[in-house]
């Protein structure tokens, strides 16, 4: 070995170190944890916390599911899960968030985040028979956003517009505003590019705390969120009770049973396990 140049000797030592540490950290360690995970009480969790109905696995208590029909319409007898951006919805082989930003307000080839929020709010409101309005949303469930054309002042503001378009309301939709600063608001022509205009979201007069809860109109980080908020679960209770011919009190009770409070009283948020709740409802 002594005859080898030091450069080669050093890299051979590095390779041997890597192989030894791979054996320790890459084989012995994960298999040791795997062995411990076989202990009773741990094994079920290590294997994925599967949930069975009548002896048949139907999923995992940690992974959310869609409760919709083949066309994506909500099944009224089931509590609904959050919006999922994992594949076609709740697909564990394609986990993802929307990754759309807080000012993503103009629909392009796909709906903007604002329009997704507005559309979800409208849909949930209709499903539960409550007011689905939200700030910055049109009555037809789009982002209430104008493209304002005209000469700009020093701050970029368009004081005297020459043309105003409601960019997220494709024609022949009726724009959410008739007139903006004295100019008639147009609906958006399909495929037109309004990026030259100044983009102005319009707050509108919807309540700051809408009836439809936040988690019902936003997507989760994983796209597999198994939980919803207590507020949204309670909002759904009437409809589920009606669809199943159950007393509302019974459904509200089941919500309580499937609610996890904050861990140790202060970690995280109270959460309702949607799959567990729906299984309990099916059991009757």
């Amino acid at each position: 070995m002594r005859t080898l140049p030091s450069l080669l000797r050093r890299h051979l030592a590095a390779l041997r170190a890597l192989l030894v540490l791979t054996a320790v950290c890459g084989v012995a360690y994960p298999f040791a944890v795997l062995a411990v995970a076989q202990l009773p009480g741990l094994r079920h969790r290590a294997d994925g916390s599967s949930v069975t109905v009548a002896g048949r696995a139907v999923g995992s208590s940690l992974i959310g599911q869609s409760f919709t029909d083949k066309d994506g319409r909500p099944l009224k007898q089931y509590f609904q899960s959050r919006i999922s951006n994992a594949g076609d919805g709740y697909d564990p082989t394609a986990t993802a968030a929307s990754n759309l930003g807080p000012e993503d307000v103009v629909d392009t080839r796909t709906d903007s985040l604002l329009t997704r929020v507005c559309a979800a709010s409208l849909a949930v409101g209709r499903l539960e028979g409550v007011d689905g309005s939200r700030p910055f949303c049109t009555a037809d469930g789009r982002g209430a956003v104008l493209a304002v054309f005209g000469p700009r002042d020093r701050t970029g503001e368009v004081v005297r517009p020459t043309r105003v378009v409601s960019v997220n309301q494709a024609c022949p939709a009726k724009p959410f505003l008739v007139v903006y600063r004295g100019v008639r608001v147009e609906c958006a022509a399909r495929g037109a590019d309004y990026s030259a205009g100044r983009i102005v979201p319009i707050r509108g007069d919807a309540p700051a705390r809408p009836v439809v809860p936040t988690d019902a109109v936003t997507g989760s980080g994983s796209g597999l969120d198994p939980h919803i908020s207590v507020a949204w679960a309670r909002l759904q209770a009437d409809r589920v009770a009606r669809a199943r011919g159950l007393p509302v009190a019974r459904v509200l009770h089941l919500i309580d049973v499937h609610t996890t409070g904050r861990a140790f009283g202060f970690m995280g948020e109270p959460s309702v396990d949607v799959l567990g709740l729906n299984i309990a409802l099916d059991r009757g």
């Binding site: 139907v58 980080g221 995280g268 099916d282």
Partner: protein, 553 residues
């Protein structure tokens, strides 16, 4: 309890836990890195590796050992991914494409764990546990080794010796990281994190559809992913995935793990230099910066200015119901203040100012507390720059811990500081200059620019988190970000070890009336101030084009 109180308690409990644990852990690491005895396992390892564990290394030799180990690691991990389809537990996945394999190999070896791939559809179980997770251990141990070597340079007098890289690497791995990771992994399994070797299997769902449930050796990888401030998720959704981070309390554990070593190393430093108060001063600077940052992020996320958060009623897009907005903000702050880059929520969907705070955390150089090891040496460089600035003000030759900070030392410290801004700003400018890379943005306008800026900031600082809307598994981004990660990791290490060598060669300067005390609150304030001013001057224009333009109307 309202969510705000709960969020503040969540943060406070983490602070208390870290305050309690950093003392014994810091003392333990001091013993690990200064002990002269090798245990039986380690002696066996040194024999297999073929190194003399008692030989001291001068800085060039130490550095060449670091680089040799890293080069071999990159080549090994690259080859491993390129042949995965022929290996067991490949889950039927194809060999990883060359540009993705290069990017991933560099990413994991540099402790970045930037992910241009989606774990559940790209990497088989064997590559994950015997390739990627191994680098989670050793890249963290390399960072700690370099930090310890640097502290030895401050401590030792009239010598060229900085210790032995192979010993530091092995001890950091088997005595520090491995035991904590084992405990952490078992705790995570108890919370519901999966640990199996199952293939994805399809089950019929309650409504008659199907769902494919994934598995893998996740818990073992999750524990070291946080502890080693790595951050590479087993799955694409990272720590937002219920199989990685199933409950609100595992979320707490994961944040704790990713902070604990970096916040304990200043204690180790204090013990090594023989003045615990020097360690307290360093940890105090880290704590001040971290508290400022977490307050800013939690406030921005809680108040949720901006169009979509106002419409939604909270900054909840991309957050999991079980964590809530504020706990997610704590995770996001911790992951960007360290070099972790794991995420339990989608940073891309954060409020403009919340997202800006996350970017700023990385731009500060990840020193509060920073990555395992890299945080400590980064902060010590800033301390050296601070004594220099203070020395200029009063017209005296600056010194730190009895070592003169002369022209050579300041050149090295300045070069260290300049590396990441040069990479970040050049990289982002190049990407923005070409239509292809520019088209990778998901969002448009300032937020799209933020995605590009975030990518290069994350890569150059070896963070690994992303404004993940950007499409980066392209040859351009894989190559450019791979280079950014490699240069952002190893150039600073070169300067740090060279600086350690020149400090170790000096004798001690006795403290005099003109010596700036480096353990008082005054010094803590100075270091924090110098850090923020340097970073603000460097990055303000870039931030103004991105998150500030978006968030301030």
């Amino acid at each position: 309890m309202n969510p705000t109180t709960a969020g503040i308690l969540f943060l406070a409990s983490l602070i208390v836990a870290l305050a309690v644990v950093h003392v014994p852990l810091g003392d333990y690491m001091h013993r690990v890195y200064t002990g002269t005895k090798h245990n039986a396992v380690e002696r066996g390892v040194y024999r297999l590796v073929g190194v003399d564990a008692d030989a001291e290394q001068r800085w060039p030799v130490y550095l060449r050992s670091v680089l040799a180990f890293s080069v071999v690691s990159v080549l090994f991990l690259y080859a491993f991914q390129r042949v995965q389809s022929h290996l067991p537990w490949s889950l039927g996945f194809a060999n990883v494409p060359d540009h993705v394999a290069w990017n991933t190999a560099v990413s994991f070896v540099t402790n970045t764990n930037w992910q241009a791939y989606a774990g559940e559809s790209t990497m088989g179980h064997l590559v994950q546990m015997a390739g990627l997770a191994v680098q989670n251990f050793v890249s963290a141990a390399v960072g700690m080794a370099v930090a310890v070597a640097f502290v030895r340079g401050l401590v030792r007098r009239r010598t060229g010796d900085l210790g032995n890289f192979w010993v530091d690497l092995v001890r950091g791995t088997v005595r520090v990281l491995l035991p904590i990771a084992v405990v952490g992994a078992v705790v995570l399994v108890a919370g519901g994190t999966v640990q199996n070797l199952a293939d994805p299997h399809t089950v019929p769902t309650l409504t008659g559809g199907t769902q494919t449930i994934t598995g893998g050796p996740v818990a073992s990888q999750e524990a070291i992913k946080e502890l080693g401030t790595n951050g590479g998720g087993f799955f694409n959704a990272n720590s937002a995935h219920p199989f990685e981070n199933p409950t609100a309390w595992t979320n707490w554990i994961e944040i704790f793990l990713l902070l604990v070593i970096a916040f304990s190393l200043p204690r180790t430093f204090g013990r090594m230099v023989g003045q615990k108060r020097q360690g307290y001063a360093i940890v105090a600077v880290m704590a001040v910066l971290a508290l400022l940052s977490v307050t800013a992020t939690m406030t921005a996320q809680g108040v949720h200015h901006g169009t979509v958060p106002t419409a939604a009623g909270a900054a909840a897009e991309g957050t999991e119901q079980r964590f809530g907005v504020l706990d997610s903000a704590v995770f996001a702050t911790a992951t960007t203040l360290t070099s972790t880059g794991a995420v339990d929520s989608a940073h891309d969907s954060y409020t403009s100012l919340g997202g800006a705070a996350l970017l700023l955390n990385m731009m500060v150089g990840e020193v509060a507390p920073g990555g395992t090891g890299s945080g400590l040496y980064g902060m010590l460089i800033l301390a050296i720059i601070t004594v220099f600035v203070a020395g200029l003000m009063v017209g005296r030759t600056p010194e730190y811990l009895g070592k003169k900070i002369g022209a050579r030392e300041m050149k090295l410290a300045s070069l260290y500081f300049l590396v990441t801004p040069v990479i970040v700003l050049t990289g982002a400018a190049v990407a923005m200059a070409f239509p292809g890379p520019r088209g990778a943005m998901l969002n448009s306008g300032p937020h799209g620019f933020s995605e590009v800026l975030y990518a290069f900031t994350s890569a150059a600082n070896n963070n690994g988190s992303a404004f993940a809307g950007i499409t980066v598994n392209t040859p351009f981004y894989d190559t450019a970000l791979g280079l950014a990660m490699a240069l952002g990791r190893f150039l600073p290490m070169i300067f740090v070890l060279a600086l350690a060598g020149s400090l170790a060669a000096q004798g001690a300067v006795p403290a005099s009336a003109g010596t700036l005390p480096t353990h008082r609150p005054q010094f803590v304030g100075l270091v924090a101030g110098v850090t923020l001013v340097l970073v603000a001057l460097t990055f303000f224009p870039a931030l103004a084009l991105g998150p500030l333009a978006e968030g301030i109307h």
